[in-house]
């Protein structure tokens, strides 16, 4: 055991490249437009208020693996980490993230509602502080779909009505749910069906009908690029990416919100920080997840704030001046058929279904 620790300590050298000074705080996030929105809404006001210097690290995509390695090496160099809820659950499961008590460690809403009630169902893990609601949904080329634009998720599976390529994510999550819904399974029974071997085969069989017309993506930027180049007629990706494609880059693309899948993104604090760093990280979290700050972020990116009390405060886009509310996945007009990512199911079936999905894909 000890030998392994020494081995891993050496691995940690690579992570520890940027030594952390006392006043520095390393915050890990996704980079791109998303990190920029956090910089404007959270980091800049916080640095101004406290004088702490925030260093932005763009490693969220590998956060779970890196945190595990850091933890085994006994040298955690990150203070606050932005992860999706499923990763937060895994980090919590592995004891790599700090448990948070929302009522004492998070700010209450302005009207006095406790943080626990304000976040509500979105507190999906003991270690997770939700920040935004985003969704995985479809965009389509308005100039390639003829006179009847798609308005139903099943149009993705309809090659006759909408010929051409589609882009889908290279993993089973979301794709198998959509496949079952379009194969006639009622939305509330999807996971019961997916738990069975036959149900899984059924979902893959449905996906088989469009397999030859699918380009599989693994990076969120792929679908916007494929849509912009006209490589695909429609494709799934995160709604914020589509927003910038449509509104900021003015491409002939429109949203298909039907059966968008809500997912959450938020903060965790790594376990095993020194008392001083943990205190600072908690202080930052208290500041950055209050009602006003969450609403501020929506000025820069089209993701919905995770607090109920933030929704009425969402205003206009900071640069474009357009109203942000209709572009939010949580907007009532967009979320009629929306479903929430099933964390429990995927925690159990991720490994199993992924093996089947990849084998199916390679065939």
């Amino acid at each position: 055991m000890k030998l392994t620790k020494i081995f891993l300590a050496s691995t940690a050298l690579a992570f520890a490249a940027g030594a952390v000074a006392a006043e520095d705080m390393t915050i890990v996030s996704w980079g791109g437009a998303y990190s920029k929105s956090q910089l404007k809404a959270y980091h800049e006001p916080y640095m101004e208020k406290t004088g702490v210097n925030i260093i932005n690290d763009e490693s969220s995509a590998e956060a779970v693996a890196k945190l595990r390695a850091m933890n085994e090496a006994g040298n955690v160099t990150w203070d606050v980490v932005d992860v999706v809820a499923a990763d937060a659950m895994r980090l919590c499961d592995e004891g790599l993230a700090l448990e948070i008590d929302p009522d004492t460690q998070l700010a209450p809403a302005p009207d006095g509602t406790s943080a626990k009630d304000d976040f509500g169902d979105l507190l999906v893990s003991d270690c997770f502080i939700p920040q935004i609601v985003y969704s995985t949904t479809f965009g389509y080329r308005t100039d390639l779909v003829g006179d009847t634009p798609p308005d139903n998720i099943c149009d993705v599976f309809d090659l006759e009505k909408y010929p051409g390529k589609r882009s889908l994510e290279k993993r089973p999550v979301n794709n198998v749910e959509w496949a079952l819904i379009c194969d006639g399974v009622p939305a509330d029974e999807v996971y019961d069906v997916l738990e069975t071997e036959e149900g899984q085969d059924r979902a893959l069989a449905k996906l088989d009908t469009i397999k030859d017309s699918v380009i599989w993506w693994s990076a969120g930027a792929d679908t916007p690029q494929l849509l912009a180049d006209g490589e695909v007629v429609m494709g799934s990706t995160y709604n914020g990416r589509l927003f910038s494609l449509i509104v900021e880059q003015k491409q002939p693309v429109a949203m298909l919100w039907d059966y968008q899948v809500f997912d959450l993104d938020g903060w965790i604090i790594p376990a095993g920080l020194s008392e001083e760093r943990q205190k600072r990280a908690l202080d930052y979290i208290y500041f950055a997840t209050d009602t006003q700050r969450l609403a501020d972020q929506a000025k820069y990116i089209s993701y919905g704030p995770a607090r109920k009390s933030s929704a009425p405060l969402v205003g206009k886009h900071a640069d474009l001046g357009i109203d942000m509310a209709p572009h939010m996945p949580t907007d009532p007009a967009n979320s009629k058929t929306a479903v929430l990512y099933n964390f429990e199911f995927w925690a159990d079936y991720r490994d199993d279904l992924d093996a089947k999905f990849q084998a199916w894909l390679a065939k």
Binding site: F7, S10, D229, D351, A359, A362
Partner: protein, 550 residues
């Protein structure tokens, strides 16, 4: 190329063992001329009177130590940052201590349980598991174990997570209440510390003593004092179980013997029922057979998984067909790496030949063109291929414009094997050209002229005279390109679609995404073994001495 220059520099700058030999030899001859009185058959002495042999050996040893000290920083660096992490990572492919570390009591009971014979689940299994699970959830280890076992049996992850939440609320507080009703001092943690210090008490209460030690060890890591923390229900449960078995005979505390005679009337709690009420899966022997199968400290499970087999309670069997993927990926990786290596030879050989036969000014200029891609980011180069090859891309647009391809039948050149081969051949080409070029530079052009003057045709002169001399360059380039190709994963991920991905994509997935490091390590180890095997075959057929980098 620079062999002569190199060795010349070496003798000029750095002392070598030969120097030491010359030195002592000079001393030796000086001694012989200056001390003619020394006995001719005695040992030859150095200037300071020690025998020459020892003096020489010492000088050589000093040289060696000095040389070692010079390379020590690099050696330690390589060992620490390169070899050690790889070794520890590969070790994970067989390591499976998490089960027996987290569930030590359960594993012991499971070892005696005859699962194949269809024996019922013993109550003692649930008693042991109760203690293990309670301690594990206190330390947040149960979910980690659940994640580990979920790789083998779907559903384990939530089973452990949910049970961890419930195990603290079991009805075992009945034992606590009954013991405290008997004697209020049972509630006092300090009295437990004193009781567990006594050897005869510990022998009378073996299960309790073991559980107590684990509890104390946990409290110590948390910085808590065992004498101040409440005694949890699970300790009263083990106390009851011990007393029910031994009656507390031999204990030196009167409190224990008193309780020992009273436990016969205690109301009992069935832990098997408690677990079945919490999660009905615990009553399913299959779950326990999986845990039993994966309870040893080391497992072949990951390796079996990596070759599309699986370890089940009934022995080793093939994975269902709809989950077989790794063998196919290994084969595909080998095949595509060979194709890429071959295309690199075909494209790189003429380029290297031109470079080697041009005047050096022009050759240097062209060399920059070969090296230019090296200075461009890998991602940029790969994305550029996307722009070139996609259906709305440059090549298809040109072909459609020329009328060679119909607009509705554009060629599919990316997101498949073809795309990966094109992009990777381009990326790896410099690794073929550079060794080829440096080998070809050393082939004197006079050989070709001599062959021709002796009557060989152009082809014969090339094939019989020039080509054999350039083989070491092909060898070096092929080894480099092949080994680099086998481990590539970014390019196949971006342009490979579903038919052009490599085994390394799966390894990367298991390391960074599914966190199944054991399986990732097993796949990596197999890949390493395959590469070493191919290297050995190459050495047997071509000979590694025939490889030249310049």
């Amino acid at each position: 190329m620079s062999e002569l220059k190199g060795s010349g520099q070496q003798t000029a700058d750095a002392p070598t063992p030969e120097d030491a030999f010359h030195e002592t030899a000079t001393l030796d001859s000086r001694e012989q001329t200056h001390a003619p009185g020394a006995a001719p058959d005695g040992p030859v002495l150095a200037a300071d009177g020690t025998p020459l042999k020892r003096s020489l050996a010492r000088a050589l040893r000093m040289q060696k130590i000095r040389a070692l000290a010079l390379i020590a920083p690099l050696l330690i660096f390589v060992l620490l940052t390169f070899i050690a992490p790889i070794a520890s990572m590969l070790f994970r492919s067989v390591e499976n201590e998490i089960v027996s570390d987290t569930l030590p009591e359960t594993v012991v009971v499971l070892n005696d349980w005859d699962s194949a014979g269809g024996a019922p689940l013993p109550e003692s299994l649930f008693e042991a598991f109760y203690v293990d699970l309670f301690l594990a959830q206190e330390q947040k280890l149960h979910t980690r174990l659940g994640t580990r076992l979920n790789y083998e049996q779907t559903g384990m992850s939530s089973l452990f997570r949910k049970s961890g939440r419930q195990v603290g609320k079991f009805d075992t507080d009945k034992y606590t209440d009954q013991f405290t009703a008997l004697d209020a001092s049972w509630e006092d943690p300090a009295s437990w510390v004193a009781m567990m210090d006594n050897k005869s008490n510990r022998t009378a209460l073996p299960f309790t003593a073991r559980s107590w030690d684990r509890w104390v060890a946990y409290l110590n890591t948390e910085g808590d004092d065992p004498a101040k923390e409440d005694i949890e229900d699970f300790l009263f449960t083990t106390l009851y179980l011990d007393l029910a078995k031994t009656g507390g005979k031999g204990a030196s505390d009167a409190r224990i013997t008193a309780a020992g005679s009273a436990v016969g009337d205690f109301e009992t709690v069935s832990l098997a029922e408690q677990f079945a009420d919490a999660e009905k899966d615990w009553a399913d022997p299959e779950i326990w057979r999986v845990i039993q199968t994966f309870s040893p400290k080391f497992t072949s499970g990951y390796y079996l998984n990596a070759i599309d087999m699986q370890k089940t309670p009934d022995g080793i069997e093939k994975r269902p067909e709809n989950q077989q993927i790794y063998l196919m990926l290994f084969k595909r990786t080998m095949f595509m790496s060979l194709v890429i290596t071959f295309s690199c030879i075909m494209l790189g050989y003429p380029v290297a030949w031109i470079l080697a036969n041009l005047p050096s000014r022009t050759a240097n200029l062209l060399m920059i063109l070969v090296l230019l891609p090296f200075w461009t980011s890998l991602l940029v180069r790969t994305s550029a291929w996307k722009v070139m090859l996609q259906q709305q891309g440059v090549i298809n647009d040109t072909l459609v414009w020329l009328g060679l391809v119909a607009d509705d039948a554009r060629l599919v050149m990316i997101n498949n094997q073809f795309g990966t081969i094109v992009a990777m051949t381009h990326i790896l080409l410099p690794f073929m050209i550079l060794p080829l070029y440096s080998v070809m530079q050393t082939i004197p052009p006079t050989y070709l002229r001599a062959a021709k003057s002796l009557g060989a045709t152009n082809w014969t002169a090339f094939w019989r005279v020039y080509f054999p001399q350039s083989v070491p360059g092909i060898g070096a380039g092929s080894v480099l390109v092949f080994i680099l190709a086998i481990g590539y994963y970014i390019t196949p991920e971006i342009v490979g679609g579903n038919t052009g991905t490599f085994i390394s994509n799966r390894i990367a997935f298991h390391i960074s995404s599914s966190l199944n490091w054991g399986l990732g390590a097993a796949l990596g180890t197999i890949l390493l073994a395959v590469v070493m095997l191919l290297y050995w075959v190459y050495d047997k057929i071509v000979g590694i001495d025939n490889v030249k980098l310049g």
